[in-house]
């Protein structure tokens, strides 16, 4: 620690160091912003979630605290939305991974390097396009009398107009589309950093393609996979724009439910309780999958260790 301090002082310039503010003080403005606009609002939501809606004119009262809003959130009306949201987000995150992995691999490994920058830039364009605008693009596309429906009917794949809007399937498609770039970028970075020599070495040592992928490429890309899963799953579960635009009544998600409690029903207590449950649901799901992942990793490592010890060269 003392060495580090002198090292840093040498870097700071010649002469005796003057008394100055601690190093972290530059971060104080960002902390204040974080506390003011993140920590306090979230704590306020937690506080409100124990309150109630006193009458039709007022939105919130916290003079009597209870868990009643949580019980209300878990009532049969809303429970299906919570399970539906979890289903949409788990399937959506999985689909994003399955679509993005071959794509990121293709972009990072197969595409000639002179095209790579351009194609990567093209991948960012949809991400930069406004979220709502992209979703409305799908709203036009999926209309029963819209372009996709017409093409599918002309080709003969569909006997009657497309009837997917205002269903859970439309929301599922929308969230996969909206969050796909967030899966592609970390995967691309992870795969792009892989030294091609590793794959060549694997090939030289007699591994076929599938084995190289399974034992060299995939394990080394795991940090990218995990980053992508978190980047997609967390915002996707709380998303409400996609569900509001494409979902209708059948494709409702918790985010949209929370928004409607605050904006339409004016029941801030119930909306807050739902938001808290949503946060806990996200953290819980991430924790469960992290534990499963750690377990699988331990099993894989154990099986490999046995293989190495059991078959000495």
């Amino acid at each position: 620690m003392a060495e580090a301090a002198t090292g840093a002082r040498v870097g700071g310039g010649p002469g005796r160091p003057r008394r100055r503010l601690p190093r972290f003080s530059l971060a104080i403005p960002a902390w204040l912003l974080f506390i003011l606009f993140f920590a306090i609002p979230v704590l306020l939501i937690v506080w409100y979630s124990f309150g109630y809606k006193p009458d039709i004119f007022r939105t919130i009262s916290t003079d009597q605290l209870s868990f009643d809003r949580y019980a209300e959130s878990f009532s049969s009306t809303f429970r299906s939305v919570f399970t539906g949201t979890l289903q949409i987000s788990i399937i959506g995150t999985t689909l994003c991974l399955l679509i993005a992995f071959p794509f990121a691999y293709w972009l990072a490994v197969k595409v000639p390097s002179r095209w790579r920058g351009l194609l990567l830039g093209l991948t960012i364009v949809p991400f930069w396009t406004n979220f709502l605008v992209r979703t409305i693009g799908w709203l036009i596309l999926l209309q029963p009398n819209g372009p996709l429906s017409g093409i599918l009917q002309d080709v003969g794949l569909l006997a009657h107009p497309l009837d997917v809007l205002d269903t859970r399937a439309a929301v599922q498609l929308g969230v996969v589309y909206n969050y796909l770039p967030l899966m592609i970028f970390p995967l691309f970075v992870a795969l792009d950093r892989l030294d091609p020599a590793l794959r060549e070495a694997s090939k030289d040592l007699g591994a076929n393609r599938w084995r190289t992928f399974r034992q060299v490429t995939l394990p080394l890309a795991m940090p990218g996979v995990i980053a992508g899963l978190l980047l997609v799953f967390i915002p996707l579960t709380g998303d409400y724009i996609t569900a509001t635009v494409l979902g209708g009544a059948k494709g409702n998600m918790v985010g949209a439910l929370v928004a409607s409690q605050f904006n339409t029903a004016q029941n801030w207590a119930l909306g807050s309780a739902m938001a808290v449950i949503l946060i806990i649901m996200i953290l819980g799901t991430v924790a469960v999958f992290a534990l499963i992942g750690l377990g699988v990793r331990a099993l894989v490592r154990r099986s490999r260790r046995v293989e190495l010890v059991g078959q000495p060269v």
């Binding site: 620690m1 060495e3 580090a4 301090a5 090292g7 840093a8 040498v10 870097g11 190093r23 972290f24 003080s25 530059l26 971060a27 403005p29 960002a30 902390w31 912003l33 679509i99 993005a100 071959p102 794509f103 691999y105 293709w106 972009l107 197969k110 595409v111 194609l119 093209l122 991948t123 364009v125 949809p126 396009t129 605008v133 992209r134 979703t135 409305i136 693009g137 799908w138 036009i140 596309l141 209309q143 009398n145 819209g146 372009p147 589309y177 796909l180 770039p181 393609r209």
Partner: protein, 126 residues
């Protein structure tokens, strides 16, 4: 692979072909709704969904509409302000993070980099 054959394009095989097809499909998927929005922005019909004929009337209407003009300028002002504030606060926090983590992780200035700098002409180690 020898040096001579390294210049030749690798032979097309099934997996590479499938990956190429997948890449193109994903790009189509990514751009489909955006292209649709651009096409329908030239739709000369008040209803969003029903295509009537090509025209720039929607653009004219948007520019003539004072509410839309005001909204555009509000967006630009908000974006500019957010960018400035985020850049300042983020830079300060980033510098603080780098300083603190340099102490915590006991990172010394890299000797290799210093040697490289000293070996450059015109830079001598004092």
């Amino acid at each position: 692979m020898s040096a001579a054959s390294a210049r030749v394009r690798p032979p097309r095989d099934v997996v590479n072909g499938l990956l190429d097809a997948w890449g193109i499909l994903v790009f189509v998927f990514l751009f489909l709704p955006i292209v649709i929005i651009v096409i329908y922005s030239f739709n000369d019909n008040r209803a969003l969904i029903v295509w009537r004929e090509f025209g720039i009337a929607p653009y004219r209407d948007a520019i003539d509409n004072p509410t839309i003009r005001g909204a555009i300028f509000t967006s630009l002002r908000a974006a500019a302000g957010a960018s400035v504030i985020a850049t300042v606060l983020g830079s300060l926090a980033g510098i603080a993070l780098a300083l603190v983590s340099a102490v915590l992780l006991a990172i010394e200035p890299e000797p290799a980099a210093a040697d490289t700098a000293a070996s450059l002409p015109g830079i001598s180690r004092s």
